[in-house]
Every structure is written in C-alpha cells, then in structure tokens.
C-alpha cells in the first residue's frame, strides 16, 4: 500500500515519525530487517516508498547483512538508512566498529529494547549502551517529534563529521506512542539538509580500484582510531551548530547535547537520558525541585558542559536505564569521569515503569555503588 507523506501538525507514533524523517531527508537506499519494536519503521518506509523510483527499499536477510549493505552503499556516495533494535543491534556489533573507522556517515535508528536473557520486548537502553564504544555518535530521543527532528540533524552531523550516527528512542514509550507531531515541509528540509557530497577520494570508484581497511602497520592502525576520537571532539560543535540552525530554520527548539529544566541554582539535580528525562520534569513542581538535566547526545559525551552545569549542585543523582555489572551504570560512570560526585540509580529495566515517585526515591538514595530501584517482588 502506498502512503502519502503527512504534512503539518498531525498525530504520529515515534516509528512513523522516524519513517517520515527518513523520506524527508531524501535517503536513497533503505536497508531493512524488521524486529520488534522497530518493525513499524520498516512497514511505513515500505508504504512511503512503494511508488517511488528514486528510493531503493531493500529487505536483507539479517541485521548484519543490513548494515553491511548500507555501509557499502554509503561508500558509493548514496545516502542510506537502517533501523534495528536489541538483539539485531548486538548481532551487527562488528559492522558498527567498521562503520566508524571507515568514516561512513550512515544514520541508523535503534528503537531501544532490553537484551536477552530473559527475553523481553520492553524498553531499556542496554542494547545501544552496549555499543557505546563502537565509535558511533549516539543521540537519545524522548518523543516522536524529537526523533523526527534528530534524524534530520543526524544526517547533517554525520556527513559533516564523517561519522555514523545512531539515533535512539525507547521502544513503546516512544516507538508506539502516538502523539502530536509537526512535520516540516520538504522544501524546508531541503534547505536545512544539503545533498550528500562526500570527499571524492573517499568514494568507491571503479576507475580507481583499491582496498579499504587492509592490514595497516600498528601505528597506522592507531591513527585510524585517533582520527575517530578527534572527529568525535569536532562533533560536539557540529551537534550544537545543527541544533541551533535547526531551531532557527524550523521555529522550534532543538536540543543540542543537554536539555536543562528548572532552577540552575537548585541544590539537587537529576541527570537522566531518554524518556526518564521527560518524566523527571514532573518533579519541577515539588517543594524542593531538582535541576533536571536530560542527556540527548551521549556520544560524544558532553562531559565538560555537564560538569560545569553541575558545579554548584551538592547532590547529583544519575538515572541509568541500563545495567553495567560490577560497576556503576554507563551514564553514572560517564558523569563521574568528569569529576562530578554522583549517586547512580539503575531503574526502568525491561520496561519497568519509571514514575515521578520512582525518581523521588532515587533522589533520596545515596551511595558509591549502583543502586537498583524498581525491582519489586
């Protein structure tokens, strides 16, 4: 069934908003392998591209093949898209490493879902946080609107930094939640996002046959890694510029790396990521409201910016929606790495509900080791 691109203010699920963004971004090759809760992205992209001969929609035989296909197509100078969740992302692990060091600016969506064992379809961030060291930029969205907007920004950031971007949003809480979304016009998107024009010497060219990523000398190998680290440092600025340009072009605020809500001089702060960062705003009407910091860009981690925001806060509570066994949760570890003393609370695992009360309990806790909340008998 072919489907028209929605326009203006409408109601879309997160998955639908992602599919719409990909078409608006003029992705030319869409590599697909469905998995719950990402499936509706694939279905809607199939609907939206059914009668278009300018977009290739490819069903692949696994997530591993999907990433392999998309990475190769990018290298031929084609803007691509891929999407997955949970086990699918983990199955693609080695392709993810390759993407960043080969400097392939692929944009992929990961609809966050917890990881086996035991099996669950429900959200937590263990899948993409397990891939945090693969060299991808990671952006975490907390609404359908932010997912749509971030995919548009992601193509610009990816192609300027020549780094892959994983745009993440929690399954069901974002992917299956239908909500009010403003869909920008194609003309507005076209003037924000230029066509993909990678450097000539980076492209696959049949007239200039050569090998990529062959067996370099140790020092050259290390240079590959260092280049990616430097590109991440540059990406912090690119993320901020893209957000600022986006806000100006589309007339709605686009979060860059961090979203701050509440009194910056508050004595306590909650640092969270994804939808928990939205729910935490409900605490702003409490008697002693915390400063709420929602991390949008997780890699590159906005550590300096965060440390400066939290400099005068006496109690910092970091909420992790992913476990890291034998250590604090991933976000907690990152916050502490920049010299911030923080309590790390792990909650919301496997889709367990995180309410304002969960967060009040988290704020009341303190300790050096990760505290697991919300585990009920």
């Amino acid at each position: 069934m072919s489907m028209e691109l929605p326009q203006g203010r409408t109601v879309l699920t997160g998955n639908e908003a992602a599919a719409v963004a990909v078409v608006l971004a003029r992705a030319q090759q869409i590599a697909c392998y469905p998995i719950t809760p990402q499936t509706l992205i694939v279905e809607r992209l199939a609907d939206l591209t059914a009668e278009r001969d300018d977009i290739v929609f490819a069903n692949l035989d696994s997530e591993h093949s999907m990433f392999g296909y998309a990475l190769a197509a990018e290298r031929a100078g084609v803007r691509c898209f891929a999407a997955t969740s949970s086990q699918g992302l983990l199955y693609s692990h080695e392709q993810l490493h390759r993407a960043s060091r080969e400097r392939i600016p692929l944009v992929a969506v990961n609809v966050n879902r917890s990881v086996v064992a035991p099996w669950s379809l429900e959200p937590d961030l263990a899948d993409s946080m397990s891939e945090r060291d693969t060299g991808w930029i990671q952006l975490y969205c907390s609404s359908a609107q932010e997912l749509l907007d971030s995919i548009l920004c992601a193509y610009r950031i990816a192609e300027e930094a020549m780094l892959p971007v994983l745009v993440c949003a929690e399954g069901f809480l974002v992917s299956h939640t239908a909500e009010t979304v403003d869909v920008p016009s194609q003309a507005a998107v076209d003037s924000f996002l230029p066509p993909f024009q990678p450097p000539e010497d980076w492209l696959l060219d049949p007239n200039r046959p050569r090998a990529f990523s062959g067996l370099p000398e140790p020092n050259d190998y290390a240079t590959y890694q260092q280049n990616v680290a430097e590109a991440h440092d540059l990406a912090r600025t690119l993320i901020a510029e893209a957000a600022s340009d986006f806000s100006a072009a589309f007339g709605r605020e686009k979060v860059a790396s961090l979203e701050l809500s509440g009194d910056p001089n508050a004595d306590t702060a909650i640092v969270a990521i994804g939808t928990i960062g939205e729910t935490a705003r409900e605490l702003l009407t409490d008697d002693e409201p915390p400063l709420v910091v929602r991390v949008h860009a997780y890699r590159p981690f906005p550590g300096e910016e965060l440390a400066s925001v939290l400099e005068h806060v006496s109690h910092v509570c970091v909420i992790d929606r992913a476990p890291a066994f034998g250590a604090p949760g991933p976000l907690g570890e990152d916050v502490r790495a920049y010299g911030v003393t923080a309590t790390d609370v792990v909650c919301g695992l496997g889709g367990s509900d995180v309410t304002p009360d969960t967060l009040r309990r988290a704020l009341a806790a303190s300790g050096r080791e990760a505290i697991y909340l919300g585990v009920e008998a």
Binding site: L121, A178, E278, E282
Partner: protein
C-alpha cells in the same frame, strides 16, 4: 490533563481506538499522547491502551495509574482492576445494549457498540462485531461534543475508503445512541458477575525459570465445557496443541491456565454434545 484507560482484547481494535481518539482530540486543538500496553500476548488476550490529552504539550512518559475516563471496548464487563483505577467522579463508558447494573463513585454511560457494528457488517476475521469505532462515537459525544467531524476525519485518514465508510456511520450512530446513566448509589466493591459460573480466568504471568507457569489461558476468547455425553475417549487430549486436556480418574480434566480456546477439541470430538465452546469473560 485528562487521562483515559481503554480496555478490551487483542483483535478488538483497542490500540486503533486509542489512536483514532488521539487523532480526534488533536484535530480539536489538543496535544495528545496515546500508547498501548504491550505484553507477550496476542489476539484475544486482555489488553489496554492509554490516552492523555491536554492544552499543553505532554511530557510525562509512564503508564496510567489512575484515570479520568475508562472506556471498555469489549462487550464483556470491564475488569474490576480497571474500574479500580477510575478517579472519583470519573466516567465509565461501556459497550452494552442495556443499562450497566453496577455503580460507584463514577458516572456511567453505555452504548450498544457491538450491536451497531453487527448492523453495519463491521466484523473481525472470526465474524465478531468490531464495536470499537461505535464506542468512540459515544466517547466523543461525552468528551468533545463538537468533535464528531474530527472523529470522521480521523477514521477516513486511518482506514481505506471501503472500511472507513461503515465505520463513519457506526461512529455517528454511537454518538447518537450513547446513553448517560444516573448513578443511584455508591458501590465501590464492583465485581463483574459472569452469566454462568466458570472457573476464574487465569492471570498471565511470565517466568523465565519454568514456562509452565506462563498462564497463556488468559488469551482465550472461548473455552471448552464438557457435557454429560462425554465418554472419556481422550481423543481431545491427543489433539490438544497445548496439552491442556488429560484423562484423570475416569473423566476428562481441562487445564484452563493453558487452554487458549482454539476449539480443536470440539472439532475432533466424535461424540455429539460432549464438548461445547463457551464465551469467556475478561
């Protein structure tokens, strides 16, 4: 902000109903948020969807604990645990031909959603009437009285023309036939009474230690009942795909914790009037 809980069974269009209503409120100028509660359950399983609407953008992201409106899509009575989430003074909207016999500290309205659907040939693949859109007509009457046109637009934008038209008519009829009831007394101990005494519906729970405690019987829309003519031949046990029937002490015993109500036992039974399928109440 108003919060609504929508209950029903997988396949009755609960999720679609919540999205259509979200779309309707959005067309009426509200910010909306609609999401289903997904579990490892399928067609026939009890499920819920949530809907929030407000003048301001909605940023909270967690399941409803309490609601202002409970809308029951199923023709069977709403589950007691759902009714318990209604805030005092809230609204209970049920899919029913007749007056709802229970009362509490909430307003009640009923609409003959299934009857309307049957009249207009809006049926599921199994031939059951899909009363969801007719119930939405009633919801719009009660919650957004000027919004029938928005509901019609939402239906047309989310359904193909062939399906949309009878549904638009069903929505209009639901709007018209919705009856508000006056609450006469307070009875907070609501318990739906089944027409016939049956074993209670199991509650689905999942375990990764032992799958036998996963009570998939909660998914059943129908369940077999053994009649006097049963000669305990055991053929049903042989064919039961769930292993939910067994011969024990000279009778057949049915494990309702795992029977999904597929009806294969009734099909393969060689004896007349030995097994019948009965509707299960949520």
């Amino acid at each position: 902000m108003q919060e609504m809980l929508i209950t029903g069974r997988g396949g009755e269009g609960v999720v679609l109903a919540s999205q259509l209503l979200a779309d309707t409120f959005a067309r009426g100028g509200f910010y909306v948020q609609s999401f289903p509660e997904f579990k490892a359950e399928r067609r026939g399983a009890p499920l819920s969807a949530f809907l929030r609407w407000d003048d301001e953008p909605i940023r909270r992201r967690y399941k409803l604990r309490e609601c202002d409106v409970l809308m029951s899509i199923s023709p069977s009575p709403p589950p007691a645990r759902a009714v318990a989430t209604l805030r005092p003074g809230g609204l209970l909207l049920v899919n029913r031909e007749t007056r709802f016999p229970h009362c509490g500290d909430w307003h009640v309205a009923h609409v003959p959603g299934s009857g309307i659907a049957r009249r207009h040939g809006i049926l599921s693949a199994e031939g059951r009437p899909m009363g969801n859109v007719a119930v939405l007509g009633a919801a719009v009457k009660l919650l957004l009285p000027d919004g029938l046109e928005f509901l019609e637009q939402a239906i047309r934008s989310r359904m193909g023309a062939k399906i949309a038209e009878p549904n638009v008519v069903a929505a209009q009829e639901g709007y018209r036939l919705c009856a508000r009831q006056h609450t006469v007394a307070t009875d907070s101990s609501y318990e739906p009474e089944p027409a016939v005494a049956r074993p209670p519906l199991p509650v689905f729970s999942a375990s990764f230690m032992d799958t036998r405690v996963n009570n998939t019987g909660s998914w059943s829309l129908e369940r077999p009942a053994l009649l006097a003519a049963c000669n305990v031949c055991g053929l049903c046990a042989l064919f039961c795909p769930e292993g939910a029937m067994r011969r024990e002490d000279g009778t057949m015993v049915i494990d309702f914790d795992h029977c999904k109500g597929c009806g294969i036992c009734e099909d393969v039974c060689p004896v007349q009037n030995a097994i019948t399928m009965e509707e299960v109440l949520v």
